[in-house]
């Protein structure tokens, strides 16, 4: 399997495209900065949000039960799924019971995490993703490359091509206005004909048993309000204690995500529409395990704004698909190893630990520290290579003995001069696109000994 490093190398073969990807996402980071700077209380908001999430995680079991009882009282059916398989089975059984074989779905990273689409399709249920970006990657048969901007990796000409093939737009048509209109017309007929709508959840309020879903397109509401059955899937970490806490989170979410002051729609679903069935599926799928990992539990504060991706200099230059996990970028790199340490062992290393992710995070997750911690955990669990292990052993031995280190350094520097080909070759990844530093005549310690007559 190709790892993040190898996939990034492939992504970087087209430098112009990397520039385009980087600049598009950097532009969003700048919009986020502008929106944040309009609120003098921004840092206070982040702190409050982080505190609320901290408190919620410390009382999560109670809040889940409170949410459940309120939701039941509101006329919602509540399901619990310990893992992805159970989640998918619950969805399928609701659909089967109602004889439904076609659904419309708005954005839900959780259903991506559970690979729900593939499961339903293999069971004869057709799924149409209604968020424009999600629809585009669905037509392209690709996973989303970004949690908020699913097709940020695609150029409009490529989308035009897809729409020409699937929606019958004119060949060569690449105007976003025209393409969006085509999708609008196509999806309108979908909304009007699907009897079940599946959505994700942005926030679930324990106090009232209501859920809040944020979209810009209105696709979640179009689907839900025209369907007989609404199925909402949520990770158990989506709980917030009180309705008024929404004030804090809604102020942070869109500003962090896209620089908008708020998403176009923030829809509060408390009871099903008259005559409608509403199901909530509360999904664990590794979250309780992550909650038990003291150094990583803060990752469960995440509200999925994607700001850490937009600011990440590595993400911008490697693309979301290089992470090979539903949630890419920095936050994905601390969530993924929890689910599968072996498969995602490369991700915590796909970072320079620059710390920008931590600074933009609206709930103040110490993302870069957790990346560092994951590295320790992965190596301790043996998820590393023999080359790395030996390299590190040798280095640590050299660093243990100053005289040995001094001698080795001197030897190394002479070798660089006498036999430069030992360093300047294809096996040295440093040298591939960078010159080696010029080795000086003497090291500082040699100079110091001579100049300052230091003994030893």
């Amino acid at each position: 399997m190709k790892d993040h490093s190898r996939l990034s190398e492939v992504f970087n073969e087209d430098e112009q495209r990397v520039n385009w990807h980087d600049e598009t996402l950097w532009w969003i980071r700048q919009k986020r900065d502008k929106a944040a700077n309009m609120l003098p209380e921004w840092e206070l908001l982040r702190e409050n949000a982080s505190q609320i999430k901290h408190h919620t995680l410390s009382n999560l079991a109670n809040y889940l039960e409170q949410f459940e009882s309120k939701a039941l009282a509101n006329g919602i059916t509540v399901h619990w799924a310990a893992n992805a398989v159970e989640h998918n089975e619950i969805v399928l059984s609701i659909l089967n019971r109602n004889g439904i074989d076609q659904i419309v779905k708005s954005k839900s990273m959780l259903t991506e995490e559970c690979h729900l689409n593939a499961f339903l399709e293999s069971n004869g249920v057709g799924v149409v993703d209604s968020d424009l970006g999600e629809r585009i990657v669905q037509l392209a048969e690709e996973p989303p490359s970004h949690i908020v901007l699913p097709c940020i990796h695609k150029k409009k000409e490529e989308i035009g091509e897809l729409f020409h093939k699937h929606l019958g737009t004119a060949h060569g048509e690449a105007d976003p206005q025209v393409l969006t209109e085509a999708a609008r017309q196509d999806l309108r007929s979908v909304f009007l004909t699907r009897r079940a709508a599946l959505t994700g959840v942005n926030f679930a309020v324990a106090e009232t048993g209501e859920i809040v879903i944020c979209t810009n397109e209105g696709n979640a509401d179009m689907g839900v309000h025209l369907a007989d059955i609404h199925i909402a899937s949520m990770g158990i970490e989506k709980i917030i204690p009180k309705r008024k806490d929404l004030g804090i989170f809604l102020r942070l979410l869109a500003r962090s995500a896209t620089g908008q002051p708020i998403t176009t729609y923030s829809s509060h679903f408390k009871t099903p529409r008259l005559g409608q069935e509403m199901h909530m599926i509360l999904v664990d799928n590794g979250r309780s395990r992550q909650l038990g990992r003291e150094e990583f539990r803060n990752s469960l504060k995440c509200i999925r704004c994607g700001a850490c991706m937009n600011t990440c200099p590595v993400y911008r230059r490697s693309g979301g698909h290089s992470y090979q996990y539903t949630i890419s970028g920095p936050i994905g790199s601390i969530l993924a190893p929890n689910l599968d340490m072996q498969k995602h062992a490369d991700l915590p290393f796909a970072s320079t630990l620059c710390g920008s992710c931590t600074n933009v995070c609206p709930v103040k997750i110490d993302i870069h520290n957790q990346l560092y911690q994951w590295r320790q955990v992965l190596v301790a669990a043996g998820k590393t290579t023999a080359t790395k292990r030996w390299g590190m052993k040798i280095a640590s031995t050299l660093f243990a003995y100053p005289a040995l280190f001094g001698a080795a350094g001197k030897l190394g520097r002479s070798l660089m001069k006498i036999t430069p080909y030992l360093f300047k070759n294809r096996l040295n990844p440093w040298y591939h696109q960078r010159e080696m530093p010029a080795p000086p005549e003497q090291s500082f310690r040699e100079w110091y000994k001579k100049q300052r007559n230091n003994k030893d």
Binding site: N12, P40, C354, A395, F399, A400, G412, P440, F444
Partner: protein, 245 residues
């Protein structure tokens, strides 16, 4: 008289002795008694950032024994200092290690916060781009970070402004990472180099003759790219500018 132990990181010792010499001379200009303990090597970061923090014990002990006696420890690298501040532990001398963690300073923060330098008598008649190394910036908070909604400041720029005839150029991305990242520079070579190229281009396009910063690791990476491009733009550690006459 205040005593300072000079810590010269392994790669600075081997490849950039001039920066270490400038650090030493600069500190001595301010009437500080500086010693360079011979028994020093590395802060341990290369192992720890690669996930092998359990292999840093020997270098941690060495560091603790070598530096415990000083009033302050000063080092011309933000990254190494941050690592020691966060992670230095000693089994033999736990108390001493803890003390070191609170009395170790990166050079610029030592000059600004402890020595409270007001005047430098240095001259460097060039256009200079300031690279904000991430660990110095976001770890040691040597300057305000562009992500935060907070008043601006910059300790490196505060000092560079005292240097005669020096012109600081402005950048389109003030504090983006250069992509060095320790072993990241070889394990993620493609992204590392691309990040470096982009950072270098920002400085070059804005007219820098020199790129400076508090961390030679970043500068070494950018130097490698500049040299491969055949660029005339040079890298220089901030100590060498502050010590330039």
């Amino acid at each position: 008289m205040m005593t300072v132990g000079l810590f010269v990181p392994c790669y600075v010792d081997q490849f950039y002795p001039k920066a270490a010499i400038a650090t030493l001379e600069l500190l001595e200009k301010f009437n500080v008694k500086v010693s360079f303990p011979a028994k020093q090597t590395c802060c341990g970061q290369p192992m720890a950032n690669s996930g092998f923090s359990h292999l840093t014990q020997a270098s941690d002990e060495l560091f603790t024994e070598g530096f415990a006696e000083f009033d302050y420890i000063v080092c011309p690298s933000g990254s190494c200092v941050l690592h020691l501040k966060d992670h230095l532990h000693s089994v033999k001398h736990p108390q001493k290690a803890e003390e070191i963690r609170s009395k170790i300073y990166e050079l610029v923060e030592f000059l600004v916060d402890i020595l409270q330098v007001q005047d430098l008598k240095a001259r460097f008649p060039h256009k200079v781009g300031v690279h904000q190394s991430c660990h110095g910036l976001r770890g040691l908070k040597l300057a305000q970070m562009t992500e935060l909604v907070a008043p601006g400041f910059s300790k490196p720029v505060h000092l560079l402004n005292m240097v005669d005839d020096l012109e600081i150029i402005s950048l389109s991305r003030k504090d983006e990472c250069c992509g060095f990242g320790g072993t990241f520079c070889v394990t993620e070579e493609a992204v590392s180099v691309k990040m470096g190229k982009d950072r270098v281009a920002d400085h070059v396009l804005n007219g820098a003759e020199y790129i400076t910063g508090v961390d030679l690791s970043c500068l070494m990476h950018m130097e490698g790219i500049l040299k491969r491009q055949g660029s005339m733009v040079q890298i220089i550690h901030i100590a060498e500018i502050l010590n330039a006459n």
